[in-house]
Symmetry: C2
Subunit: 445 residues, 2 copies
């Protein structure tokens, strides 16, 4: 990796840093002092105003409390950091997102210094995560879902088009479509099984109407846009990461039977827009800088068009983020059994980089706004076991997936709870985690 | 039309009503006292706050001025109407939209009484439309575009699939997809020709990259949602119109060459999301009540599934709204020539009713929010001349459309201005208009 193309590291990445918050120093925590992800939260049951918070161990730094504690300010808090705290104390993170990477970085540095072992402990700024509830962290003006796993696209394509699984545009165009922002919820979301029309392939006559029978999850990474762009002013690929606030986990719930009947010719609609679940925590790109991955193409694959190419792409365009999806059925919940892991994958397999998605999205002049959300698409890996959906794991609903306790699933049943997790680690570096994005299927109404 | 299924008429529909605003009594005005559509406006060049306004002749009733003029209130202004004025004085119409049909109706009745010839003139509440500028009237949380013209779907399908123009789901499913809210603008919008990837059918190898060559308009009706629904709580078709604030004009600009290359398998994306132009004026469903149309199906066509059926559907599920699209090239603008009419159509040809779109959109539990926008899809009629896009008018780019002055178009050229207009009329009733939705193509950057 050349110096020129490596992401810049700074003192906040130092693996030797520890915190006066003891739970942040436990090796398997998602939230060491090197992470410092953002969420929108309040103390559960209080009806307090939502405000920004930063995870540290099993606590949350309440940014609104920080702002009102004059004695918290010392030399570590420059004007940029103080301003960022004020922006993050509002009832959404949009203003902080709009402030740009210098503001995010200033706030991160000040928080890192405040939370270090050698700094005075300020427990009055902390709220236990166990006492918190979370909201969707930003007003999401537009939500776009991409399709960046070539392994997922090929596996799903095989089910629909055995002779021609991957469409001719796939290796040239970062395929995406607009999703629904009104039904995005944070971890803990529960939704009723959707009703809709279905008609099996080859059947003639009236479609059926009723609860979806082929309900599925999709294991994705979410990408929150920070600073946007004006209509007609594309974001160049080389600049694109400066417009990204951070990454989260995203479950793009999908009703496969509704999808198969409705999706031609304009794409998925009711099969997707009933619910989308994200993790409350957004991990910043700065926190992820030491965990970048090379971006690779098979030798036989085309190189990206110039507008999708940039100097840092091949050396470190990707992110080495392990992804995992687990399922806990209603009876497993009742019996106190933990969720069973269904699959593991990794975001490094993505065929398109985050910067390429942003550049592609705006190359036609489309405007992104602070708080806009992009989904990566289902992140299936090259191995069949690395499948990010039940559609793939059950081979199109034909091979039941065995669960502990003698249960099995081809698609989701009522009461099923699906949990996404994500984390990254490197030898000699701390583990950085995303928390979880959990959601539960309620019976159809 | 049975009494039971006719929309309720009231004193605001009386064709004998005239206004003390003389320009509202001219026969060909879009804005007689029976219309009273809403917009968000301010006096041009002043930097004033945006606020709600109601069109009357060539004037705008400034709702924020009304609220501050104590002597404007008389018995016509009940509490509901006064509250609605307060909601409409904000910097978007979302709060008024959320207030529901009783509030909209109370405000309409009070305005109708205030503006009648026999009421005292209150010119201090008026702003000339010539002095106004407009904004997108609501924060549009989500924008959905439908595909409700079977004539358009068939004509476009013929170009792509001559043997199988209409897909099997069309007559059962109100096909729709999510669009982009960040690039919706009001009449007067100008946008740069989008750049993007294209690859002609049958060509192998790398796609081309550059300005779209097949830029098109789409003549649509926009539907603004008033009161929304909670996630998981569908809106029944019979109740759906109570959730609709009103209708506007909508131009879904489309880059056909980008679309053809990108749209499989997830639908249109960059080919549509660079710009969408709506009229500033939203005509309420109450104003349109006397201009409803029967909703018809060919005898051979299936009847709608129960969730898409409701008592008033066949008698008056449609709207008799004439639609017109005109084009004024750069040289026509330079030479002072008016826009040339390219096509006329009518919203009554829509295969799906407005209420069916709302019921379908929410049947899976999807939430609509106040200010959400639905597009009808291109409203082509049964006659070839009633085509709502250049793609159809030029037979897929093969037959140039002649313009005055010796010009011709197969698709749009830089500098072209496209103007949509819409209106409705009935013998013995005044003409009710939508104003216009005009937009201009700027050269690619």
């Amino acid at each position: 990796m050349s110096r020129q193309t490596s992401p810049a590291l700074n003192e906040t990445h130092d693996p030797k840093l520890a915190s006066w918050v003891a739970s942040a120093n436990v090796p398997d925590t998602d939230f060491p002092i090197q992470n410092l992800p953002f969420a929108l939260f309040r103390r559960r049951g209080t009806g307090e105003a939502w405000r920004g918070g930063v995870a540290i161990g099993d606590r949350i730094v309440d940014l609104s409390a920080l702002g009102s504690l004059a004695d918290a300010w010392d030399d570590a808090w420059d004007d940029a950091a103080r301003h960022a705290v004020a922006l993050a104390s509002r009832d959404s993170l949009n203003a902080l997102m709009a402030a740009g990477p210098a503001a995010w970085s200033a706030l991160r540095l000040a928080l890192s210094r405040m939370l270090r072992s050698e700094a005075p402990a300020r427990p009055e700024c902390l709220v236990p995560q166990a006492d918190a509830e979370y909201a969707v962290p930003a007003t999401i003006g537009d939500y776009t879902d991409f399709y960046t796993s070539i392994h997922h696209a090929t596996a799903v394509g095989k089910l629909f088009r055995p002779d021609n699984p991957l469409l001719p545009n796939y290796k040239w165009v970062p395929i995406g479509y607009h999703g629904r922002s009104s039904t995005i919820g944070v971890s803990g979301q529960a939704f009723h099984r959707p009703l809709g029309q279905t008609r099996a392939a080859g059947v003639e006559g009236a479609p059926s109407f009723g609860p979806a029978q082929r309900l599925d999850f999709e294991l994705e990474v979410g990408i929150f846009i920070g600073t946007g762009n004006a209509s007609g002013a594309p974001i160049a690929a080389a600049d694109a990461e400066r417009h990204v606030f951070g990454l989260c986990l995203l479950n793009d719930w999908s009703a496969r039977d509704l999808q198969a009947w409705e999706y031609q010719p304009l794409g998925p609609f009711l099969s997707k827009n009933f619910a989308t679940t994200i993790s409350p925590w957004i991990v910043t790109l700065e926190a992820l800088a030491p965990y970048r991955a090379a971006w690779q193409r098979d030798a036989a694959d085309p190189q990206p068009l110039p507008y999708l190419d940039y100097p840092a792409l091949r050396a470190c365009g990707g992110f080495d983020i392990a992804l995992e999806v687990s399922l806990q059925t209603a009876s497993m919940q009742r019996d106190g059994m933990p969720p069973a892991t269904l699959a593991r994958s990794n975001f490094r397999h993505s065929y398109w980089s985050v910067a390429q998605l942003v550049a592609h999205h705006t190359v036609n002049g489309c405007a992104l706004r602070p708080g806009d959300l992009l989904g990566s698409g289902t992140q299936s890996g090259p191995d069949e076991a690395e499948a990010g959906s039940l559609l793939e794991l059950s081979a199109g609903g034909k091979q039941p997936v065995a669960l502990p306790g003698g249960e099995a699933r081809v698609f989701l049943a009522d009461g099923d709870k699906v949990v996404l997790r994500g984390w990254t680690s490197r030898p000699g570096l701390p583990r950085i985690g995303f928390g979880e994005a959990a959601g539960t299927v309620l019976p159809a109404r």
